[in-house]
Amino acid sequence: MGWPLRDAWRSRQEGADGATWGFLAAMLALWGLTLGVAASPEWWLQRSHHQGSFGVWALTQTVPFMYTLETDWWAERHGPAEPALAEECARIGNHGLRQHLPVGQFTNPERRPMNRLCGLPADLVLESRLRKHRVRTRWRLEEHSGVLVLEERP
């Protein structure tokens, strides 16, 4: 087995078919987005969920492990989100989620940095759900239906 890069270069004489051009374009996008986001994370994050559009946000989701940046970035630049999250969780917990999910684990501020940095165990699914919807949001619980409705996204 030789050098993959060299072998790929030597095979250029036979030309590239459509699938190969498509794959190369995808790799350009993958590496370009990865390096681009790494070079200016604030620019990308401001234009995705914090101020921007769903489309830009969806684009950034194709960068592997983007979500770790989202949470770390948010926490670092906007102060600890734990009190807001704890408040939300406690409020939801009061409406019965406490019986089904380990609310105490994610309302515990000591545990938050660990979850934020390392991804979430499967049983903390509600926390990750709130995280995806951004913790600094306002929710309204419709008493009659039990549905949480997002009222405000910063």
């Binding site: 087995m1 072998d7 030597r10 095979s11 036979e14 790494a38 515990n108 499967a122 509600l126």
Partner: protein, 271 residues
């Protein structure tokens, strides 16, 4: 069945290996996917940020069921058509999971998406499979570039994050560290975990650049990196490393195939 797979062109053989690995990972992930869907039904959230279809549990459940069905079909009846179908559904499955309200930003979603791109090339390319090992390592490099770059923070480089995450959190030692703790003293264990900070950046950075290495070394670095991360983080990372292993195995199949080796020899003689 094995004879049927062996008779396929080299790209489709590699795609079949990819299919087996992705299916195994998906089976491992199935309880989590089901739990997410159940949570959506039990505690619905309304968030105008997501287009309506991407808030619907029906779409989420639909792509999961479709993905399983197509993969089982392609596993049982491997052909150009079924493997191409597997490639397209994997891309669609990953794309929906990436942006669906219920995806929770899970790393496996984004890896499924890029695995779909790789599967598309394997099943649609008509020539030039000697580029496959390079393409495979380039894709795996893209998967690992961000984890390496994203860890260039004081917390990771000092190992503080690992120390807090795997040992010193309120929940106590996690995963493999419960066993390590029986062998090492706490200060020794802390030193070890703090070493993991820079080490993880180095390993993930090496995997990200493995496409620059000779094939055997490149795939070896990917394998060692995946095993090391799995050992460090525990079984919860199977959902990520299973996909990485599947992509790497399919690239290896290409690299080791008679067709690719012969083409490489011919190209070398020509140049």
């Amino acid at each position: 069945m094995i004879e049927q797979v062996r008779s396929l062109p080299v790209g489709l053989r590699a795609a079949y290996v990819l299919l087996v690995g992705v299916l195994a990972t998906l089976v491992w992930l199935a309880p989590t996917l089901a739990r997410r869907a159940a949570l959506m039904v039990r505690f619905p959230l309304v968030d105008g940020w997501f287009p309506d279809p991407l808030q619907a549990v029906g779409l989420y459940a639909g792509v999961v069921v479709l993905q399983f069905a197509v993969m089982v079909l392609a596993l049982a009846r491997p052909s150009r058509t079924t493997l191409r179908l597997f490639a397209w559904t994997t891309l669609g499955f990953g794309a929906v999971l990436l942006v669906h309200q219920a995806s929770f930003g899970a790393a496996s979603s984004v890896l499924f998406f890029w695995t779909g791109v790789w599967a598309l090339w394997l099943t649609h390319a008509t020539r030039g499979f000697e580029r496959g090992p390079f393409f495979c390592l380039l894709l795996l490099g893209g998967m690992f570039a961000w984890p390496a770059l994203g860890k260039l923070t004081p917390g990771y480089l000092s190992g503080e994050v690992y120390w807090r995450a795997h040992w010193n959190g309120p929940a106590g030692p996690q995963g493999i560290h419960m066993w390590v703790a029986r062998v090492l003293s706490e200060p020794a264990h802390e030193r070890l975990l703090r070493w993991f900070g820079p080490l993880s950046v180095a390993v993930e950075g090496a995997v990200a650049l493995a496409w620059l290495l000779p094939g055997r070394w490149g795939f070896g670095v990917v394998g060692l990196g995946a095993v090391g991360i799995l050992a460090m983080a525990g079984p919860s990372f199977i959902r990520v490393m299973g996909i990485v292993a599947a992509v790497a195995a399919s690239g290896w199949v290409l690299a080791a195939s008679e067709e690719v080796r012969a083409a490489n020899a011919e190209n070398a003689a020509r140049s």
